[in-house]
Amino acid sequence: MILDIIISGLISGSVYALLATGFCLIFGVARIVNIAHTAFYMVAAYGIYFGTHKLGFHPLWCMIASVILITLFGLIAYKLFIDPIREHEAAVLICTIALAMAMQEIMLLLFTGDFLSVPSLIEGFFTIFGVKVFYQQLLTFGLVLLILAALRVLLMKTKLGLAIRSTAQDREVANLMGINESRAAMITMGITVGLAGLAGAVVVPLTILEPFMWMHPLIMMMAVVVLGGLGSLKGSFVGAYILGFAEALVVFLIPKGAFLKGSVALSVMILVLLIRPEGLFGVSFEEER
């Protein structure tokens, strides 16, 4: 059973980590609490469904096209709705909620509330220590590690990363140093929406497609980010796996209480916050942003 818990925890944790990374990044850099993050993930998934089922293209091409299109859409949404009010954090928060609701209603109108699905990129499963794991889950796990590594390289080894980190540390000083902080925020928005699209491409084949599918991941993702420490990528990564393991423990140790797995995970978050209000890596690891 321990192996089951470890493997199940790793898999769920990877999914949460993938979703939380983008959310965390845009908050860390631009102080934008992007509630629409998982709505972008939902729209990307619908894009893949439309491409595969309505237009008949191969899932891989649809995934690539969907990630590119959702990134462009995210950039347009940022320029039109978020950028003009960026100075007012509360207004941005409300704006992203409205944006998410609008996307939900548009998807409901276009695709109705029917439950749909998209094909896996790699079908099938393999067995590890008697536990069956989807290749798609393995792909998610691998992708999370890859994305985190790529983000680290981008932030630490490139000029763009330097600009992003400077903006995250002090917008005004970054501006005085000649960094176009508005552009840095916009690029970060593009990267994070792209990550949301990528999450849609790899996670959605494991689940179902419906216009309200963005809400549950949003709650879990926020829990992960708060648990790990707002804005800390490392914190999000660790937080995601803590919640993943908490969920697996509930399912295996209290089968009749499997429905409580989300609540237990959120309780873990509250518990950690009571002991350490800034989250696991909120202040001590501030420089990692």
């Binding site: 059973m1 089951d4 493997i7 199940s8 898999i11 769920s12 999914v15 089922h53 409901l108 109705t112 509330g113 029917d114 439950f115 749909l116 699905s117 094909p119 896996s120 079908e123 099938g124 499963f125 536990v131 069956k132 794991v133 989807f134 889950q137 494991l206 689940t207 179902i208 419906e210 309200f212 599918m213 549950h216 969920e247 697996a248 399912v251 295996f252 089968p255 009749k256 209480g257 499997a258 429905f259 797995k261 989300g262």
Partner: protein
Amino acid sequence: MKRLKAGWMMMVALCLVLAIALPAWAADVIKIGVIGPMNFVQGKGHWNGATMAAEEINAKGGVQVGQKKMMIELVKADSNEFLNITDATNAMERLMTQSKVDFVVGGFRTEAVMAMQDIAMDSKKIFIGCGAATDELCLRVAKDYNKYKYWFRGTPFNSTYLVRTSFIHMATVGAILKKTLDLPQIKIAVVAEKAMWTEGMIKASEANIPKMGMELVGIWQPSPVATDVTAELSAVQRSGAHIIFTIFSSSVGIPFARQAGELKIPAMQVGINVEAQKEGFWQATQGMGNYVFTTNTYARGVEYNDLTAPFVDTYIKKFGEVPTYNADTYAAIKYTLVPAIEKTGTLDSDKLVAFIENDVHMAPSGTVAYYKDEQGRPTHDLKWGPGFLTSLGVQWQDGQLKGVWPNQWKATPEAPEITYKGIVPVKIPPWVIEKYKK
């Protein structure tokens, strides 16, 4: 100026004439409210069934009410009950006060239907429920007849009989597995979504599975909207279950079936999976829902009586899919309401209630009659069993939803054997055979 005044007066006169004349026009119309979550499969089923019934009746000249013919006019009401019960009660209020409907059909979610039921009852309008299974909806009729007598259950039969039917399905599949795979004892894992309606079924499972000679190896209760159940499936596999008794009405039925199929969990899924009753299930599970067995009302090519095939075939032709049980708004209008109106010659709710509660009539899903409780009080609940309504056991077999039960079924040792026309044998998933075949 005088001309302008005269113009205004003519306008007012015209409005008055219209206001007086409109109710007279409306009098030749029977207004039926169709309420349901219209953006979802359930609501679409409600609406499709009702429109089919209205079109067929109107094409034949309408409904004979005493000396005059009246046409049916449907009023669509989106209850949005999956997301907001207040929307459902508002929609019902609008039907009663604004649209002033004569009857209502539809409803799906128990919590919403109970609230909507009260509104319809206060307005003394007949409401035929076509979605919620909770016993309480009809127990209210027995307990407070004067208030709730306008409620009738249209479909499905109540939760108690749903449980009984599902247990029969479980026992049937258990017997097939035991015989085919030469298993000494069948092990059952119960996986039920966490919801009010499943609690009774879980208790019944705990009490009855051992009595049925099978072993209950565990009960798992994922969230109704869970999207990943791989952990639950790993635990079920570890338990060594041969049958997974599913109790799902929400979206969790899709990821559960898809992930179980893709992981080739060596156990047959039997029970209630409302999502598996729909044509879209095959696409939604990417074909991984193969061999899932669930209770259902209709299946291609399966006939309860002479009314089934014309209904199912026309529905498929018109809407491109097999009707779900929610589409029994068709039967509620065509075989319950309209014959009652024609026979009594009135739209008066009280007179119609007195007629319908004693009526026994055929419908595409069987023979409809209503129970009275032990004290002889009408419940307006549907009679279950051979000769009345039994529903079907259906199984996904290579992309098609086939009727597999009742197949030589005897309700009691003395009862006659029942096999509906079009029923085919149950298929065991190859990976289950591979795992257990000695």
